[in-house]
């Protein structure tokens, strides 16, 4: 079994390396599809079990919410069809086709989101964003391509200073950008017009799970009455319902290697936080522009 795990992880890591722009969830789904192709199971139930097990393995490698949600949605999508064929290989073929369809759909999702969101950026706008999000980058690229002039403030986002990468990427497309300290969010908010952030996961209540510091930014923008927009692809919708910060499961809060190596987690600093839906104005997804209460509607449609 071990070498299977290694192969899986190796494939996953290769996918991430070959296309750094790809979301980790997409890489995970590619890996799962490949796993499905190579799987030699005899029963459909066995197939489902092994897919679930593969998703768990991948979550251990990269403990982001998106990987687990993407895996679950992949499983649901491919089995949400009539599998009444006599032959197992026929069923497998159907599932593989569905899997490829799913992959195709989600690779287009970022473009769809960018198309929806760039209209909300007006000419001369000042935008605040948090840490480094590829979806937000895509949105800003689209807005710049539409010949809109805007300036961007990015938070530095400790402890991994991911904000600097975002700033570099924006400078490459000639957008004026300023890097601010995480502590300066309240200071800079009176200057900005809108706040756009990405999300690692969108939960059932309509809230989001994102890099630590997002909740702070949301509370400040609510106090300043600035709109707080979230851009996320639909495969990030996850069946979690946290009530507060403590209620988010530990397996998402810390990095995968931290979970494995460290015994007492109370010393570790969490990498993500939860933003409740009352602070979010709108969510831009490939399913459309949603209010936070509509997220539950979509989830019910997806899962029930």
């Amino acid at each position: 079994m071990f070498h299977l795990v290694e192969k899986l992880v190796e494939y996953f890591r290769t996918q991430m390396r070959t296309d750094p722009d790809m979301a980790s969830a997409v890489a995970a789904i590619r890996t799962l599809l490949e796993f499905l192709r190579r799987d030699k199971g005899e029963t459909i139930l066995g197939l489902r079990e092994s897919l679930k097990w593969a998703t768990d393995c991948l979550t251990e490698v990269d403990s982001s919410v998106a990987v687990s949600s993407g895996g679950e949605l992949f499983l649901r999508f491919i089995s949400l069809t009539s599998l009444e064929h006599q032959d197992l290989s026929r069923c497998k073929k159907v599932m593989e086709e569905r899997g490829e369809l799913f992959l195709e759909k989600i690779s287009l999702s970022r473009t769809k989101v960018a198309k929806l969101c760039h209209t909300f950026i007006k000419d001369g706008a000042k935008i605040l964003t948090h840490s480094s999000s590829r979806v937000v980058l895509r949105v800003l690229e689209k807005a710049a391509a539409e010949k809109k002039r805007f300036t961007v403030y990015v938070t530095e986002s400790q402890p991994d200073t991911a904000g600097k990468q975002m700033a570099d990427a924006l400078r490459r497309i000639n957008v004026p950008v300023t890097v601010v300290l995480d502590a300066a969010v309240g200071y800079v908010l009176e200057k900005v017009d809108l706040v756009i952030v990405g999300a690692e996961g969108v939960v059932e209540s309509g809230g989001i799970i994102n890099k630590i510091g997002t909740y702070q930014m949301a509370v400040c923008s609510k106090a300043h009455n600035k709109p707080f927009y979230v851009v996320a692809e639909s495969f990030k919708f996850v069946r979690l319902y946290p009530l507060n910060q403590q209620d988010v499961p530990d397996r998402f809060k810390y990095k995968a290697d931290t979970l494995r190596t460290v015994s007492d987690l109370s010393d570790e600093h969490p990498m993500i936080d939860y933003t409740p839906p009352s602070l979010i104005t709108l969510l831009f997804t490939d399913l459309g522009v949603l209010t936070p209460s509509a997220v539950s509607d979509e989830l019910i449609k997806l899962y029930l």
């Binding site: 059932e204 209540s205 309509g206 319902y241 009530l243 507060n244 209620d247 839906p277 009352s278 209460s293 539950s296 509607d297 019910i300 029930l304």
Partner: protein
């Protein structure tokens, strides 16, 4: 009740029979499909005479509308005078309603097909003013709809009743909804109508008691010392004894709590079905529903029905009317009994298990949980969580005059859960210690508001200020289509004498009726807005409060 039915006159082999009502000078045209349907006509004639009271009322209303139209037309231009004979004479109308079946699905487009299909009318289409044409078309559409329902009532399996005639009217004007009678107590016309209905069903009318606070004067207020059952003869011929017993249990508060009341109701109905025998020349599916109607009015008089009971009754009526006519009586009865058992099992017992499963995920070790009053579901959840060895303690909040928290306290302490007991006035004192609030619900309304015992919205409000998450637990059978934004419009007033309390041998409010400016208010329910509720746990899963209409929609699709 088939007094009139219309079939398209375009059919080749058709017989026209004119039925003339003896008391009013209006004419109803019955188009039958062949010579062999004379029995239908005589039956409809006879039934028309039996149920003539409602019919009379309807005809009176119709006449009034016609008169109003006539007046309106007489005020306007002369060209419209041509219409008046048309609107007064019914004979052209049924002919115009030939297009009835096809046009019925789109009653809003009534003005359009009506002029097109009326070759006998003098000047239908080119109407100078929209109003007269619309009201005429509306009337026509109403008649059409009524005739449709009568035709549908002709088929077996659908219940015929006086209330059904009101359905087409409200179907056509979706904006105008009828207010339920129990929230219009200060309107004498409504009270008279209710009294007449109860008289017809031979149920005594319960009279209101005591001075009502003016803001709630539109609701009933009864006294517990005068239960309805005292006015019934023994043995009661109209009402089944188990229903009488149930009514007494409700009005005295012996059976209280939304789940308990629904289960007791269903068990009583099971007994009714067991003792029921179909009278000759009647069908079980229609007659049993008619038998249940006076029971439901009686129970409503004893204590207003709750939302869960309303849904249960709807389900039973649907099941009864879906019994095929060929079904033998014994078979039908056992089928109904198993249906009811299954409803109780699925919607109440299993739902409670599913809800506990989800709720236990939200209870972590070291939690301090606040509960209010006595909700059977919340108690169930806490006991299950305790059995799964979660370490938590409970704070029970209670309020007068019902003091239901004591019952909850007793049940929890019996299981070994460590509890604290406070009154609701100490809420802000105790809340800083609390990590979660679990509330039960009486009903979940379609706009996401939670209707529950009075005091619940207060708890949710204060918890929100302290940033404590509020979780509401509710089974899906308590979801109702009603919309309410405040606690005034529809509520229940309990016995005001309950507020009197005797301390050290003295009862201060003993003679409250003598003080003319004093009113005692004992509210039962209140309504909590969805902003104060963080999570609703149902048997379908955990949903935000705003997703209740989605669940209702999904449920309606399933059915």
């Amino acid at each position: 009740m088939k007094r009139e039915s219309i079939v398209p006159a375009a059919c080749a082999a058709v017989t026209y029979t004119v039925l003339c009502h003896p008391h009013h000078h209006t004419v109803f045209i019955v188009l039958t499909d062949g010579p062999g349907n004379k029995d239908d006509i005589t039956r409809s004639k006879n039934e028309g005479k039996e149920l003539s009271k409602e019919e009379k009322q309807r005809l009176r209303k119709q006449k009034k509308q016609q008169k109003k139209q006539k007046e309106r037309k007489n005020e306007k231009s002369e060209t419209e005078k041509e219409k008046t004979p048309v609107s007064l004479l019914p004979p052209p109308r049924p002919v115009a309603t030939q297009k009835a079946p096809s046009a019925l699905p789109a009653p809003a487009s009534a003005p359009i097909p009506v002029p097109a299909s009326a070759p006998f009318h003098s000047s239908p289409a080119p109407s100078p003013a929209d109003k007269p044409a619309k009201s005429k078309a509306e009337l026509k559409a109403e008649r059409r709809a009524r005739q449709e329902t009568d035709r549908a009532a002709k088929q077996p399996g659908s219940s015929s009743s006086g209330i059904k005639t009101k359905v087409p009217l409200s179907e056509l004007n979706p904006v105008v909804k009828r207010l339920p009678e129990h929230v219009q107590v200060d309107d004498p016309a409504v009270v008279k109508r209710l009294a007449k209905k109860l008289e017809r069903q031979q149920i005594p009318l319960r009279s209101d008691y005591g001075y009502k606070v003016s803001l709630f004067s539109h609701l009933h207020q009864y006294s517990r010392k005068a239960p309805l059952t005292q006015q019934l003869s023994i043995p009661s011929t109209v009402i089944h004894p188990s229903i009488v017993r149930l009514g007494l249990q409700y009005s005295q508060g012996i059976v209280a709590g939304s789940n308990a009341r629904s289960v007791a109701l269903l068990h009583a109905f099971k007994q009714v079905i067991r003792d029921y025998t179909t009278p000759p020349n009647e069908e079980l599916s229609r007659d049993l529903v008619n038998k249940l109607k006076p029971y439901i009015s009686f129970l409503n008089q004893c204590r207003p029905l709750s939302a869960s009971m309303g849904n249960a009754i709807k389900y039973i009526k649907k099941e009864i009317s879906n019994i095929p006519s060929q079904c033998k009586e014994e078979e039908a009865k056992t089928k109904l009994l198993t249906c009811i058992d299954r409803y109780i099992e699925e919607k109440i017992v299993l739902a409670a298990k599913a809800i506990s499963k989800y709720a236990i995920e939200k209870i972590s070790d070291g939690d301090v949980i606040l509960v209010y009053g006595c909700s059977s579901l919340v108690n169930n959840i806490l006991c299950e969580a305790f059995e799964k060895s979660r370490k938590f303690r409970v704070i029970v909040v209670d309020s007068r005059p019902r003091l239901e928290g004591r019952e909850a306290l007793r049940r929890l302490v019996q299981r070994g859960i460590s509890c604290t007991y406070v009154l609701i006035s100490a809420l802000s004192y105790i809340l800083p210690e609390v990590s979660k609030v679990f509330l039960g619900a009486h009903a979940l309304l379609a706009n996401g508001y939670v209707m529950s015992r009075v005091g619940t919205s207060q708890i949710a409000l204060v918890a929100r200020t302290f940033n404590v998450p509020v979780l509401v637990c509710c089974e899906t059978y308590k979801f109702c289509e009603k919309v309410q934004t405040d606690s005034f419009v529809s509520n229940e007033l309990d016995d005001p004498d309950d507020l009197m309390v005797t301390r050290k041998g003295k009862t201060q409010l003993e003679n409250w009726q003598d003080v003319s400016s004093l009113g005692l208010l004992n509210l039962v329910y209140d309504v909590t807005p969805p902003d104060f509720v963080d999570l609703v746990i149902t048997d379908l899963g955990m949903i935000p409060c705003t997703s209740v209409p989605v669940v209702l929609r999904v449920k309606n699709l399933d059915q």
